[in-house]
């Protein structure tokens, strides 16, 4: 295997870990309450703008931006849950889909109106340039994003599967009424899921902004990436999202390298259609 190919795969894995992080929020909410947040990509976009604002206004890097973005987007998530999602969940399918879709448009074009349409980037040197290990070139920003993405996704998985809070959330997702009889408040757990998803998404946004252009419409592309990752990994599974995110990161990098940068999206979208066709329950989902 040539060195370039190794390089491509490594950067694909680093990218994939970030995809896994922002997709885990989407899959968490789906698993809890069978609702797809169509505004998910725009939550990431707002996390990215948080990083841009923190840098331009305060001169802070991703270490300052990530916690701020986590708090902001978690608040946004909880507010969306209480003001909107909680109500539309009980409504007809059209309302369930349109509710968060409208929220997506609202956030996207508010950003467009406020920040303008132009692409914003953070300086390359913000996260310590790049370095070479064993002939493979690493960019600081991508390594930081990839490693943090991996760590936080695993943390989320551990919280959901190994802690009391995780068990309570699982109980609500299995049967909200039974959980309520056991003294768990379903709405509180669902709001918590939106908060956790928002925090993960905000951090992901702040990390992506260090190496990716930030624009109001970037959320659309990212939302589709999250749909692909989540359907690939199985709706509701954070571990599934992690594996799927890594695979999609590599597939995207490889197709950009082997076929051409324009076609990387085409390959990923085709993958999505194939997964929906042949394995709608996802790679790791139960049949």
């Amino acid at each position: 295997m040539s060195m370039t190919l190794v390089q491509v795969i490594v950067s694909g894995l680093l990218l994939g870990a970030v995809y896994a992080l922002f997709s885990s929020g989407l899959t968490l909410i789906w698993g809890m309450m069978n609702v797809v947040n169509f505004a998910h990509g725009d939550f990431v976009m707002l996390g990215m703008y948080t990083a841009v604002v923190v840098w331009t206004a305060l001169g802070g890097g991703p270490f300052a931006a990530a916690p701020i973005a986590a708090i902001l987007i978690a608040t946004l998530g909880i507010a969306s849950y209480f003001l909107l999602v909680r109500h539309i969940m009980r409504g007809p399918m059209l309302a369930q889909i349109l509710g968060t879709f409208g929220l997506a448009l609202f956030l996207r074009y508010s950003a467009f109106w406020y920040f303008g349409a132009d692409f914003k980037t953070l300086p390359d040197t913000l996260v310590g340039g790049s370095f070479v290990i064993a002939g493979i070139r690493f960019e600081g920003a991508r390594v930081l994003a990839g490693v943090s993405g991996l760590a936080i996704t695993l943390l989320l998985h551990v919280i959901l599967t190994r802690t009391m809070v995780g068990s309570r959330m699982l109980a609500v997702s299995e049967d909200a009424t039974a959980a309520q009889l056991m003294g768990i408040r379903p709405q509180r757990m669902q709001a918590l899921a939106w908060g956790m998803a928002g925090a993960a998404t905000g951090i992901a946004g702040a990390l992506i902004a260090t190496f990716f252009y930030t624009s109001p419409t970037v959320g659309e592309t990212l939302a589709i990436l999250a749909f692909v990752t989540v359907s690939f990994g199985g709706f509701g599974s954070v571990l599934g999202a992690l594996v799927a995110g890594l695979i999609i990161g590599v597939v995207e990098s490889l197709s950009a390298y082997l076929i051409g940068p324009v076609y990387k999206d085409v390959v990923v979208y085709l993958l999505f259609v194939l997964v929906l066709w042949f394995r709608p329950q996802g790679l790791m989902g139960k049949a």
């Binding site: 969940m89 059209l94 349109l98 109106w113």
Partner: protein, 331 residues
């Protein structure tokens, strides 16, 4: 019922004489035509999104097929653009079958996600084909050669063409609504599982609705091209095209015959106003408003504005999540 029939007749008369009322005011002549074009697209969406309850957020794929078919027959064959309409419609029916067979098996949210992804896929692909003008897009005839090029100095001829198409489409929808298929579609929308268990071949009727909806969305695309004379990947396949169809139908009332027309009569003037008042940035503000409208409808008025005028006994409240459990998963 008298009041309703009176309102309907009033609407028909107003639609017929509108261009005479605004004769000599090009802005309003154009506005009338745009409202009708929007209503055609949203009414086409309504067949599958409203009546069958399959919320496609990727209908731009058919609109783009219609628009590109029209401009391609002009650019590559020298035909009048409108001659591309039947080709675009046929291709859209075919495409609807190709997309619909796998994706209509998915329900609810999955179907919406799949339609978004397919439309994005086609948008990205369309910008790579030199044949379709790449990212720059293609233009129609600059000067009319014959009357079939449908190039007019005023928007009034377009107004009457669009009105005829809309009348035909609404007539067809009305006929379907009262046919066996209409009852099947409503049954599928209420509960696909129940409909299936009563012997409705849900898959087949959803597909028919999707193909029909795709064909008329393509016709809207071809008509758009005839009026505007230009299409690029964003104005043909962009997600905002899909969004407009959904919002107009949902605002007026999805699954109601005149819902999309009412939605278009409100939203198109709103968009034109904010674009002319606020300029380039107004486009952004328009969609902030669209987003807010969608959220408010979904939250407070999921059956649309027309439902306010309906006098129907309160339906018994569904148990929370009762239908989700039955229909929320792919089967």
């Amino acid at each position: 019922m008298g009041a309703r029939r009176f309102a309907f007749l009033g609407l028909v008369v107003l639609a017929l004489v509108y261009p005479l009322l605004v004769a000599g005011l090009p802005v309003y002549e154009r506005l009338g035509a745009l409202v009708l074009l929007g209503a055609i697209g949203a009414s086409a969406w309504n067949i599958v999104g409203g009546y069958a309850g399959q919320v496609s957020v990727g209908h731009a794929v058919f609109f783009g097929f219609g628009a590109y078919s029209a401009v391609v027959v002009y650019t590559h064959l020298g035909w009048p653009p409108i001659a591309g309409a039947p080709i675009g419609m046929a291709l859209s029916v075919l495409l609807a079958a190709v997309i619909g067979v796998p994706t209509l098996r998915l329900s609810g949210h999955y179907f919406s996600m799949a339609t978004i992804a397919v439309a994005e896929l086609v948008r990205v692909l369309s910008s790579t084909f030199e044949f379709l003008g790449g990212a720059q897009g293609l233009g129609g005839p600059a000067m009319p050669r014959t009357v079939f090029d449908l190039s007019f100095l005023s928007a009034t001829p377009f107004y009457y063409i669009f009105l005829a198409v809309l009348a035909f489409l609404l007539g067809l929808t009305w006929w379907i609504e009262n046919s066996r298929m209409g009852f099947y579609l409503r049954a599928i929308k209420d509960s696909e599982r129940a409909a299936r268990s009563l012997g409705v071949s849900a898959g087949r009727y959803k597909l028919y609705a999707y193909m029909l909806s795709g064909a008329f969305t393509a016709l809207a695309g071809s008509l758009y091209l005839c009026m505007f004379g230009f299409v690029d990947p964003e104005s043909g396949f962009g997600i905002l095209i899909s969004v407009k169809m959904v919002v107009m139908a949902a605002l007026g009332g999805a699954g109601q015959l005149f819902g999309p027309l009412v939605g278009a009569m409100i939203l198109v003037p709103l968009e034109e106003l904010s674009n002319s008042w606020l300029g380039g940035r107004g486009a952004g503000l328009t969609f902030v408003l669209y987003g807010a409208i969608i959220v408010i409808i979904a939250r407070f008025l999921p059956s649309g504005l027309l439902s306010l005028f309906e006098r129907r006994p309160e339906a018994p409240k569904a148990k929370p999540g009762a239908t989700n459990v039955a229909d929320g998963h792919a089967d």
